[in-house]
C-alpha cells in the first residue's frame, strides 16, 4: 500500500510507508523508558521548586545549562549530518564503502573522524543513521569511539593546550585510534548486530531514497531533498536531544556534589592516578575540544602524562552524558560491555606508557 499522503510545499513525495522513517511520533519509548523519563522530569522540577535558593542548586543549574549550551550546537550539527546521510547517501553506496563482514572496515570506521570531524555530542545521531544504512557493527562502534578523538579539531585544541607538545597530540590520536579499533573488533566478536543494536534503530526502515520520486516519477529536486534532510534532522534532534539533557543533568549533579580534593591525594601514584583521571573523565563530561585544557591544568599537580592522556582518551568515548545517549542506539548489555572494554583498553594502553 503506497498511498501518498505527505505534502511538502506543493508536491507530494513520500509514500505512507516512508513516514515511519522520519516521524518522531513513531519513535515510541518503552513503558520503562517512559517511567524513567517521567521520574526525571518530576525530580528536576521538584529540585527547581524546593531548592532553588540554595547555593548548591545555583552551581548545579549553571553547570547543567553550560553543558547543554556548549553541546547543543554540536548535537544539532550531528543530527543535520545524519539527516543528509539519510537522504543523500543511498544504502547501496554505504554498503559498498563499508561492506558487512570485512575486517578492514573497523580501521576505516575509527578514522572517519578525519573526514567528519564531529565531537562526541554530534556522533550518536550520525552513527544511528549509519547503522540504519547498513554500516557494519565493528566500524560503527569504532567511529563512535574514535570519531571524537581522531579528528583535526581535537588535535588542534590539544596542541594549543599543551603548547604544541606534539608528542602529547600524536599519542592522544594514536592511542584513541587503537582503542577504538580494539573495542570495535571485540564488540563485533561478542555481539551480533541484532543483539547489540536496539531494534528501534532498524524498525525505521530506509525507504526514503526510493521514495524520493515526484508525481511524475522523476527524482526529487535538490531543494526538496534538502528540505527532507532537514525534516529528518529536526525529528532526530527532538528524539535524541532528551538523552543529552538527562546526561548533562547527571553530570552537573556529580560535578556539584563530588569534591575534587578527594581525588587529589592519590593523583601522584601512577596507576592509581590513571584510574582516578579516568573516573574524572567519566564524571566531568567535558567536550572533546575542551578537555585538553583541563587535562593540561593537572600538570601542576604532578599528575603523570599517562594519566592526563587517559583522561583525554576516555572522556570523549565514555562519560555519563554519552552513556545515556548510547541508550538510543545500543542495548543495555552492549553498553555495559562497551563501557567495560573501553575502560580496560584505555587503562592498559596508558598504564605502560
Amino acid at each position: 500500500m503506497r498511498l501518498k499522503i505527505f505534502s511538502l510545499e506543493k508536491k507530494k513525495y513520500l509514500t505512507e510507508s516512508s513516514i515511519g522513517s522520519h516521524d518522531p511520533f513513531q519513535h515510541k519509548s518503552s513503558k520503562k523508558t517512559l517511567a524513567v523519563q517521567l521520574l526525571f522530569v518530576l525530580l528536576v522540577l521538584g529540585l527547581l521548586v524546593f531548592f532553588r535558593d540554595r547555593a548548591q542548586f545555583h552551581t548545579l543549574g549553571i553547570i547543567f545549562v553550560s553543558i547543554v549550551l556548549e553541546a547543543l550546537p554540536f548535537m544539532l550539527l550531528g543530527t543535520l549530518v545524519g539527516g543528509f546521510i539519510e537522504v543523500f547517501i543511498p544504502r547501496e553506496k554505504i554498503t559498498r564503502w563499508l561492506p558487512e563482514g570485512r575486517w578492514w572496515t573497523v580501521f576505516v570506521g575509527a578514522g572517519l573522524g578525519l573526514i567528519f570531524p564531529v565531537c562526541e555530542c554530534a556522533i550518536v545521531p550520525v552513527v544511528r543513521r549509519l547503522l540504519q544504512k547498513g554500516v557494519p557493527l565493528s566500524a560503527a562502534i569504532a567511529f563512535l569511539l574514535g570519531g571524537p578523538i581522531v579528528n583535526p579539531l581535537v588535535a588542534a585544541s590539544t596542541a594549543v593546550a599543551y603548547f604544541a607538545d606534539w608528542s602529547v597530540v600524536i599519542r592522544r590520536m594514536i592511542f584513541g585510534y587503537i582503542v577504538a579499533v580494539a573495542v570495535g573488533f571485540l564488540i563485533d566478536l561478542i555481539f551480533t548486530k541484532v543483539k547489540a543494536i536496539r531494534s528501534e534503530v532498524f524498525s525505521a526502515k530506509d525507504y526514503l531514497c526510493d521514495a524520493m520520486i515526484s508525481d511524475h516519477g522523476k527524482p526529487a529536486a535538490l531543494g526538496e531533498k534538502i528540505g527532507l534532510a532537514v525534516s529528518h534532522a529536526a525529528e532526530d534532534f527532538f528524539d535524541i536531544g532528551r538523552f543529552l539533557v538527562i546526561g548533562a543533568f547527571i553530570a552537573a549533579v556529580l560535578q556539584t556534589l563530588v569534591p575534587r580534593q578527594l581525588l587529589a591525594s592519590v593523583l601522584n601514584t601512577p596507576a592509581l592516578s590513571i584510574l582516578i583521571m579516568m573516573l574524572m573523565a567519566v564524571v566531568l563530561n567535558l567536550c572533546s575540544e575542551a578537555d585538553a585544557f583541563v587535562a593540561a591544568s593537572f600538570r601542576s599537580s604532578l599528575v603523570p602524562i599517562s594519566a592526563q592522556l587517559a583522561f583525554m582518551i576516555l572522556g570523549p568515548m565514555l562519560d555519563i552524558k554519552l552513556i545515556i545517549m548510547y541508550l538510543k542506539i545500543l542495548r543495555v548489555r552492549a553498553i555495559a560491555t562497551l563501557a567495560l572494554l573501553t575502560f580496560l583498553a584505555v587503562f592498559l594502553s596508558t598504564v605502560f606508557m
Binding site: 527547581l48 543549574g61 549553571i62 547543567f64 545549562v65 556548549e70 528540505g227 539533557v245 560535578q255
Partner: protein, 245 residues
C-alpha cells in the same frame, strides 16, 4: 465531547516539537542579544550559538511544514515527555540567570592550597590572548605572571572565601577562569593577609589593594597579598563574573 478532547490533544501534541524549537530559538536570541551567554560559556564561542540558532530556525520551519501530517497522529505521552525534557534547560537558563559559581563550587573544585601559585608552572601561561598589562591586573594575571608581579603593589577584584573556620587574619580571594563553559571552570585564588572584618561573608565581591608576594611554603609556591585596603564592591553582572582564557 470525547472526540473533541481527542482532537484537541492531538492538535497540542502536533504543536509540541515546533513549540520547543521556538522556545529554544527565543532562548538563543536572548542569550546572544545582551551577551547573556557569557554567564555560562566563553565569549569566543558566539559563532556556535549563531550556528545553533540557524539550525533551530531550519528545524522549526521543517516542523511547521509537516504540521498537517502530524495532526493525523493521536495524543502520545512520549512526545510530551520528550518536549518536557528538552524544555528543562531553558527553564534552568531563565531561573538561574543572575547566579554564578561561588564559594560552594570553589570548595569543591580547588585541589590544594597552593594551586593558585603553582598553576603558573603549567601550560596556562602559554594560553593565548592574555596580554600582561602593568596598569590593570586581574587575579589571573597575578597567577600567570606571579614572578613578574612579585613584590609589587596590586589592586585586584574577586570573591571572598573564608573557609569553614573563618580565619580572622586571612581569606582567599578567588575567581573562576573558563576555557569553554562553566562546567570546566577552574578556580584561581590568592591568599589575602589582613585583619578580616567579621561581616565579610563568603561570595562577597571585594577590591583588595596591597603588596603581592610569592613565597615557598613546604616546597610549594603560595601567592599572597598583604592587604592594606579591602573595599566591598557591587557584584558585577553575570556576564562579567568569570575570567576567560
Amino acid at each position: 465531547m470525547k472526540a473533541k478532547f481527542k482532537r484537541s490533544a492531538a492538535f497540542l501534541t502536533a504543536c509540541l516539537p515546533a513549540f520547543i524549537f521556538i522556545t529554544w530559538l527565543n532562548a538563543y536570541y536572548w542569550l546572544l542579544k545582551g551577551g547573556h551567554y557569557q554567564a555560562f560559556i566563553q565569549p569566543k564561542l558566539w559563532p556556535l550559538l549563531i550556528l545553533a540558532m540557524m539550525l533551530i530556525l531550519a528545524y522549526t520551519a521543517a516542523c511547521i511544514s509537516q504540521f498537517s501530517l502530524k495532526l493525523k497522529i493521536p495524543f502520545q505521552i512520549d512526545v510530551w515527555l520528550k518536549a518536557a525534557t528538552l524544555f528543562l534547560p531553558v527553564l534552568f537558563l531563565w531561573t538561574n540567570y543572575g547566579q554564578s559559581l561561588g564559594s560552594d563550587a570553589f570548595a569543591k573544585r580547588v585541589f590544594n592550597s597552593s594551586q593558585s601559585a603553582a598553576i603558573q608552572d603549567t601550560s596556562f601561561k602559554v594560553l593565548p590572548a592574555r596580554v600582561f598589562s602593568e596598569n590593570s591586573k586581574t587575579l589571573l594575571d597575578l597567577i600567570l605572571y606571579a614572578e613578574k608581579i612579585h613584590g609589587r603593589r596590586v589592586a585586584v577584584e574577586g570573591m571572598v572565601y573564608r573557609g569553614a573556620k573563618g580565619d580572622k587574619n586571612s581569606f582567599k580571594l578567588f575567581r573562576f577562569a573558563v576555557v569553554c563553559c562553566a562546567a570546566d571552570a577552574l578556580p584561581f585564588s590568592v591568599m589575602v593577609k589582613t585583619a578580616t572584618p567579621k561581616d565579610l561573608q563568603n561570595d562577597a565581591w571585594v577590591r583588595v589593594e596591597g603588596l603581592f608576594n610569592v613565597e615557598t611554603i613546604n616546597d610549594k609556591q603560595v601567592s599572597s597579598i598583604t592587604a592594606d585596603k579591602i573595599l566591598p564592591i557591587s557584584t558585577p553582572p553575570p556576564e562579567k563574573r568569570y575570567m576567560f582564557f
